[in-house]
Symmetry: C2
Subunit: 155 residues, 2 copies
Amino acid sequence: MLNRDYNDPACSIAGTLGLIGERWTLVILREVFLGRRRFSEMQRTTGVARNILSSRLDRLVDEGILERRPYSEHPERHEYLLTHKGLDLWPVLVDLLHWGDKHLDREGEPPLKLIHKDCGGEIDDRRICESCGKHLGPRDARAVYSGDPVAAATA
Amino acid sequence: MLNRDYNDPACSIAGTLGLIGERWTLVILREVFLGRRRFSEMQRTTGVARNILSSRLDRLVDEGILERRPYSEHPERHEYLLTHKGLDLWPVLVDLLHWGDKHLDREGEPPLKLIHKDCGGEIDDRRICESCGKHLGPRDARAVYSGDPVAAATA
């Protein structure tokens, strides 16, 4: 556990990183926010090693950030859903997305945009709809992939 | 470099994590935001190993997130300042702080609060002042430590 390494357990930043700051954890949470809830889907789209994916998912379930739910009995298979605690991590992912869109050295349009479901407006860096001004939560947004506005994944 | 491990270089979230997602990096950036700009200060307050601190700082300078500036010639010593690119990471740290304040299992007041310098209002999770409604940036905020409202560090 990462937080054992940090010197200041009283700091909320270090404490949060102790739960979600391990390699791959935020990429895995991104997958769940994008609607890819099953082990095999996440493994395929991220390329993460199966043992790491498995250990990260276990930890996120233990910490109450994800909830494991069966979707098949034979064979036994589970999918992973965000709890309220997990949904509250949405701002972190939105910030990482916006920072990367602005600062990564890359050509062309950002590969993924977040759109307000109700009005189609873009979401700004305070998670406010640029079009209608509404303060948005994860359930209000959908992801639109560059060049393919129809293939939108929903949180 | 972490981003070599991620399968989707086109994703801004993975790309950003490739730059700042290594262990300790965000804790080190927290230090700089709190005004602890010197190697020895950061090393003392975080307890990070010197070789790791050194390698993380080098990387952040290489990526244009921090700027290295000499403050002593004999012996040669440097301090680290946030560039514009670095200052743009403030929202990530504010989110991690707010999430930890809300969800970490801890007693009592949050150890650190962010206050709007001008009016003393608290900063909400969209970085808006709860008192005056202003949209705040890192230069508008100061940190107040629990139980010691006078000992405030400034970004």
